[in-house]
Symmetry: C2
């Protein structure tokens, strides 16, 4: 039996577009003699639909399109994801469901049993859990049907299990079957490896082959990497789709063979591809074509511009140079060199006279007070204002260039350099910004060496460097990771070899800048814990770790 893994990139709520895409993939799969095609979780809908589900018409439309789509399925079977209604008298209104379609009919259904509600997930918000894995009998084979989280609760694989029950174990205690899992599992560094290790352990344990089909594409903050695959009953890899792009891969069930398309071979390659996809999909799915961004001559804007150019083409990226009296000639040259290397258009708008106008307007109010910090923020906000004016005028999306280390410590200006529709590097720590820049330069040296090697500076006052305010980035990034991603108490971070006063200072900075992050644009997520929907903290709070944890 020939099975196709159909790794598609749906657009949320675009039922027409998504069904047409699935029909196209089915056509290709038929040409390759597939008898069964497997699509990802909620493939008809796009994941995550969030509160669109609450619109009276949304789920009805989804069912209407499912019916229409099913009517086209013949001489092949299809597994796809959709939203079903919960007809019961109590419980959440909907199920996150899988349909097994053959000869224009849904011959089996499954409702997701384990519903994630941690980190970026909100599935208990609208979905009622299913009771158990369902199975489908097709061409003399039994398929165990599961959706994403359903397989993530094996008692031998996890030290602590999030859910009391394991629907996979319950199923395979009763019978043997080929395990199907349709997923919308978002990317974070090294996640693909974890998925394979985990499912391989399950295939081996129950001695069954397994098919894992993941969504690809980026939706707001979440980047789905695809990387679908099939395993034999020993847990050995027999087929795989590429990561970070749509793909269709054929598997021969009896022969235990399949195509293996290339996937990323390093974390840097993964992150590079993830950010490219993130930019492309946000721009496209929001209906934009062009982007613009400020070019300071620094490394963050240089990397963002280079990524955007690779993602969208040089004709769709515009760089804006906005030097102030504190900008060094070197920085302006670096920005120009970068733009030349990338082949992108630039505009130059000096901000000296605007800055002077503000000072003139504010001086009667400030009188003789020291306003150094205010003036620094003012420059960033003048630039934000100019960039937004250009974005309005051109209908181009403004990309935000700040990195995770800045956003974590609040070393950035709300409504200034934080302005924009998409924050490309907001989950990339500064040290990784450098690594990625060098990685991109390996292929073609587009980022000026000077932007990489000079001491990082916001250039908002004379001779300023980031390290006037922050510890060296290699130290800072370790502290940020410990506090933000691993949620460690101060005392534990200090034990890694940092001074208590430094750690306390950084933690205070992180905590008190929550208000800025609440108003930050969507940030492409590449880590286990990004700022944004997966990290929900109150602003008006006063928690301080008690002495013993400091």
């Amino acid at each position: 039996m020939k099975i196709a893994l159909a790794q598609i990139n749906p657009t949320i709520g675009a039922f027409e577009y998504n069904s047409r895409k699935m029909l196209d993939f089915i056509k290709t799969a038929k040409a390759k003699k597939a008898e069964l095609v497997i699509f990802p979780e909620l493939s008809l809908v796009g994941y995550p639909p969030l509160d669109l589900l609450e619109k009276e018409s949304f789920v009805k439309d989804n069912l209407k399109y499912l019916k229409q789509f099913s009517s086209h399925i013949q001489d092949i079977a299809v597994i796809c994801g959709f939203i079903d209604k919960n007809g019961g008298k109590s419980g959440k209104e909907f199920f996150n469901s899988l349909a097994f379609i053959s000869n224009r009919k849904i011959i089996a259904k499954h409702h997701k049993v384990l519903l994630p509600s941690y980190d970026v997930f909100d599935e208990t918000r609208h979905f009622e859990p299913g009771v158990k894995l369902h199975s489908a009998l097709f061409h003399q084979h039994t398929f165990a049907l599961s959706i994403c989280e359903d397989i993530w609760n094996d008692k031998d694989f996890w030290k602590h299990r999030l859910y009391p029950k394991d629907p996979v174990a319950d199923f395979f205690q009763r019978k043997k079957a080929i395990l199907i899992n349709i997923s919308a599992s978002p990317y974070s560094i090294n996640k693909l490896g974890l998925r394979r290790k985990m499912l391989s352990a399950i295939s081996k344990k129950y001695k069954v082959p397994s098919f894992y089909v993941n969504q690809v594409g980026s939706n707001d903050e979440l980047i789905f990497d695809g990387g679908s695959f099939a395993l034999d009953e020993k847990g050995k890899l027999i087929a795989q789709c590429s990561d970070f792009k749509e793909d269709l891969v054929m598997v021969d069930l009896e022969e235990k063979t399949g195509e293996k398309h290339a996937i990323s071979t390093s974390s840097l390659e993964e992150v590079y591809k993830a950010l490219l996809l993130g930019i492309q999909d946000y721009v496209r799915k929001c209906g934009f074509k062009k982007v613009l961004l400020g070019l300071s001559g620094g490394i963050d804007s240089a990397l963002t511009a280079a990524l955007a150019t690779d993602a969208l083409g040089k004709e769709n990226v515009i760089g804006i140079l906005m030097p102030s009296k504190y900008s060094s000639q070197g920085s302006i040259e670096d920005a120009k060199t970068l733009a030349k290397n990338l082949g992108i258009k630039t505009e130059l708008i000096p901000i000296h006279s605007l800055f002077d106008s503000y000072i003139e307007s504010l001086t009667p109010v400030f009188k003789n007070e020291n306003s150094q910090l205010t003036q620094e923020n003012l420059q960033a906000r003048i630039r934000g204002n100019l960039l937004m004016a250009l974005s309005n005028q051109w209908g181009a999306l403004l990309l935000t260039t700040g990195n995770k280390s800045e956003l974590g410590t609040g070393y950035c200006t709300l409504y200034g350099d934080m302005s924009g529709g998409l924050a490309v590097l907001a989950d990339v720590p500064k040290t990784l910004v450098y690594e990625l820049s060098r990685y991109m330069n390996l292929k073609t040296p587009v980022i000026p060496e000077n932007s990489i090697t000079k001491p990082p500076s916001a250039e908002l006052r004379p001779n300023q460097t980031d390290q006037d305010t922050l510890p060296p980035y290699d130290q800072l990034d370790q502290i940020l990771k410990a506090y933000i991603e691993n949620l460690e108490p101060i005392a534990k971070i200090v034990k890694k070899g940092f001074s208590q006063s430094l750690v306390k200072d950084i933690v205070k900075r992180i905590d008190r800048n929550e208000y800025k992050r609440r108003q930050a644009p969507p940030a492409l997520r590449i880590s286990y814990k990004a700022f944004g929907i997966g990290r929900r903290l109150p602003i008006a709070q006063q928690y301080q770790e008690s002495e013993e944890y400091q």
Copy 2:
């Protein structure tokens, strides 16, 4: 037996402060001969703590403080809320718990059974559900212990039930007891009435008295109105706390009597008090004293200034007048009159020259393109920039003045008039802005009549009025309510008597401005469905209702 309803305003994560506050209330209760004091849900912690729970030290600190707090409890019993650890091998790490403390010991515990995960609630994110209501025996009385949502699932009261089980019904099938419910139930218009009606039906049904103690105070977007109460076994009100402030009320269980403190008598009074509390608590809990805001002479900024002055005192509110060449003399006068009526300080910073500087800087880039809309946004952003400069300089919180009708339709400028730390009116539709203004003027006429009666205008171009772009506000607000709060499809809204093209246009405006709202400051919630954490929509999505729903 004398029972005290202790309606407190905890600060999230401030364990020391919250325990001290509880001990103070206990002291007062003892003086009034109370034998039992009941505090709200998570009273030790503050609600909602959100992802603070994920910090390694947070729940440990909460348990440490609970132990310390318990050690002070003697000659009185106390019911309070805390977070317990789930010691089991699987499931979420914590329980949302209630402790019944007597003689320095916890004599009974209850873990919340029904965990809300809709609208603004995220409780399945960290909490494992309890199994059933627990009871405590104290002074010959049996108390059934429940937390908030536990009592919101009665099959006779609700047409559709959110949860398959009803722990209250399960409990009272087994035995008789006095029903205790500790809550953190956020305010929305007329919510208090619903709570009473619902619990009254339960008391009557099971023929048991009930005690409902709700948190009071505002945490970020959520305003908790308090309004705690006690009912007899016929469901009749025997005692009540005030709404929107801390309170302690005594109930005599056997006599079925108690104090009844005054509560709001109209929706307008409720909303007024809610917004006051929202401003006060955000400012205080974030560590600010002073606020500033732009005064345009229009009704939104006038109402915001009046509310802020009532909330914080005139010495803590500063109004900034920033006229442009399109500001009418009338508007400047209205703003000055308002400030004089309120007794607040003002600063005047005209933006003509700043605007000219921007046009000068941008003209070489824009060349001869029409830039009308860009110029309008520019003026709003110059004001945003000036206000933030003053906020930075003075350490004062900037209040955002936009209303729900503007934010819904995107008739506002991101990083312009949307700038600020707290959006006071962002859940108040324009028609309600007028009502509230008249309501406030009834007491003291502070808002100039002219601000109320003149046609609303952003004054960003000559002779502009809001109704050049938007339908009359009484129509718009009905459409917004139908679409945003009731989630009705276009066709259903049209049936209320609006043209299809108008409704389609408004719906399109609402949908395509989601990106602005994602970056909006926290908005005080007074309606059933506010923008912010209770409304989670993807930005990069392309759902359009299919023809039959249009």
